[in-house]
């Protein structure tokens, strides 16, 4: 047993487009209560072998050691790494992370998860339901606690319907229709687009050379929301986005009779900060498509979900479905004694 004077904790990690974020939960059981997150500020590289496990370890180990030192913790009872791209690019993480984190940090219990899974758990915990995570992109994740389901998340050219990039693109399309005199145009969106990006004729030259085209498209989404009150074209774009989002949620949500107890649906991510212009039609679309699912506020963000998985793993109460490309767990059953970290390899 961990002695009363010996502090242990769990580590939650979120690897995304803006880098690694890591947080330490000091006392198992106090979910989401932890240290202030540390951020690496540098996205983990992706190479021919997928997500670069070495680059992740290189960033994570010093962050973890600093969090442990600051909190006076000697032992990590469990670690969860949630990573964007894990489902299709996670092979190297499964191959290399367990041994590297055991060697460097003495980690015995490790969970690797798709960022959609950490988003789900952050929002709903270990309950059945559906979560839509949306910002520039969009993915829906659901579970009946037997398996994971996902929908969309295909990126800005193949899907991500209803996402920030999708809404922004639809708004710019409507602006350019007005510019050209085609039907379906919106003069208010054209005015906002020109205020934001300059004359319409310059937009292609600004957009196409960029590598972050989806982000530039998504940057226009709040302008669509700002026009929705008086402009029927903008309002229609948000209503269509709401239908797409609810469609994705329905595709992954277990049916009411499939699980015991209540099915919940939650929304998480920056897109939903857009407020009423999106949320009002979205709540209606969810009620229409998922009448049996209770709409609840997300409990926490994906980093909180990573911590939650680590806590449940440490306490041996992780009941979520384990699938290699969604939630992969390497670990021993909780040991009767605390694990002392091995010394780093010489």
């Amino acid at each position: 047993m961990t002695g009363p004077g010996e502090m242990s904790g769990v580590l939650g990690v979120d690897s995304g487009g803006s880098g690694l974020r890591a947080v330490l939960a000091l006392k198992v059981g106090q979910e989401g209560r932890g240290t202030a997150p540390l951020e690496s500020g540098e996205p983990v590289r992706t190479g021919a072998r997928g997500i670069d496990a070495g680059h992740l370890v290189e960033q994570l180990v010093p962050m973890a050691r600093q969090l442990m030192a600051d909190a006076g913790i000697a032992t990590l009872r469990a670690v969860t790494v949630g990573a964007a791209g894990y489902t299709s690019l996670g092979d190297s993480l499964r191959a290399d992370l367990p041994s590297a984190l055991a060697r460097e940090l003495g980690v015995r219990n490790l969970a690797l998860a798709a960022d959609g899974v950490t988003a789900y758990v952050g929002a709903l915990g270990q309950r059945p339901g559906a979560v839509v995570a949306a910002g520039t992109g969009l993915i829906a994740i659901g579970t009946d606690l037997t398996s994971w389901r996902k929908a969309d998340g295909w990126g800005h050219l193949l899907g991500d319907n209803g996402s920030g990039a999708w809404i922004g693109r639809a708004g710019l399309d409507a602006a350019l229709r007005a510019h050209d005199g085609r039907s379906g145009g919106s003069a208010p969106l054209l005015a906002r687009g020109e205020a934001m990006f300059g004359p319409a004729g310059t937009w292609p030259g600004q957009l196409y050379p960029r590598t972050d085209r989806p982000a530039m498209l998504a940057s226009f989404a709040p302008e669509v929301a700002a026009c929705a009150d008086g402009d029927p074209v903008a309002a229609d774009i948000l209503a269509e986005a709401a239908r797409h989002i609810a469609d994705a949620a329905r595709a992954v949500c277990p049916a009411g009779g499939e699980v015991s107890g209540e099915v919940q649906v939650a929304l998480t991510g920056g897109l939903f900060k857009m407020g009423a212009p999106l949320l009002v039609p979205l709540r209606a679309a969810l009620t229409d498509r998922l009448p049996y699912a209770r709409q609840v506020a997300a409990g926490g963000d994906p980093l909180a979900g990573a911590v939650r998985i680590a806590v449940d793993l440490a306490e041996d109460r992780l009941t979520l479905p384990r699938e290699e490309d969604m939630l992969y767990v390497i670990g021993e059953p909780p040991a009767p004694e605390a694990h002392a970290p091995k010394s780093p390899a010489p």
Copy 2:
């Protein structure tokens, strides 16, 4: 006057994504009858100053000299260069091409045109109306013979609605809806997509790293057409494309009362080789939106349009609207005597 034994001709040039094409029309007046086109196979570079005039000259001069030598022609009475990107990137062509082609080829009469203008003239000649030019992208060009109008042509993220990239993207979106169990999905399109690109899960990894994403999207458009007979989702995509195309045509087409005589509308470009699945709903949409415009077959392609402009320029009967960023003409009135080419600069 050009003596009876002295051959002269005009040169038409089309600069596009697959390089330069040039054709010589041997006898002024025989529109579109000329030599077999020569092709450079190398797209003209675009740099910070726009389309690289030096690179264009470097490719064009030897092609022109070869065409002239093969045909036994000493004098070019006029040249037209139609270029993709001319409207926004044509400054350097206007600045540098007139002197370079005068020096190298003795050209006195030169027209520079947007590829949409050469497409228009190739399709309809010097008549009022509207032309939609579409392949991977899509643009509509119209004129009342007083000014040029254009609609769409904004590229695959901002518009090109109804284009090959647009149809292909909509088809892949419907395929992935079926994959996910979202509404609006098409199992036939999913089957064709997986036959073409492999398992759906691999599509994002194939598409997003490419630099020719629009071409990859457009490569799926014929599969949508092939499904349209039995699959209502595919048929709806083509019907929506038809509405977009007709919208663009209507936006640029002069009203029936605006011009004297008949208004014509024509379609040109690779998209329309798709045949009945697109053309049947498109003809209906054009009849609906432009009931006063006669739908005619395109007379020729953009290269034929470049030749036609050069012929009309040489004969001093070019009545099309002259606008710097659409159709720019540098020339003298036809001289009483043929121009002898100057020797190349030493």
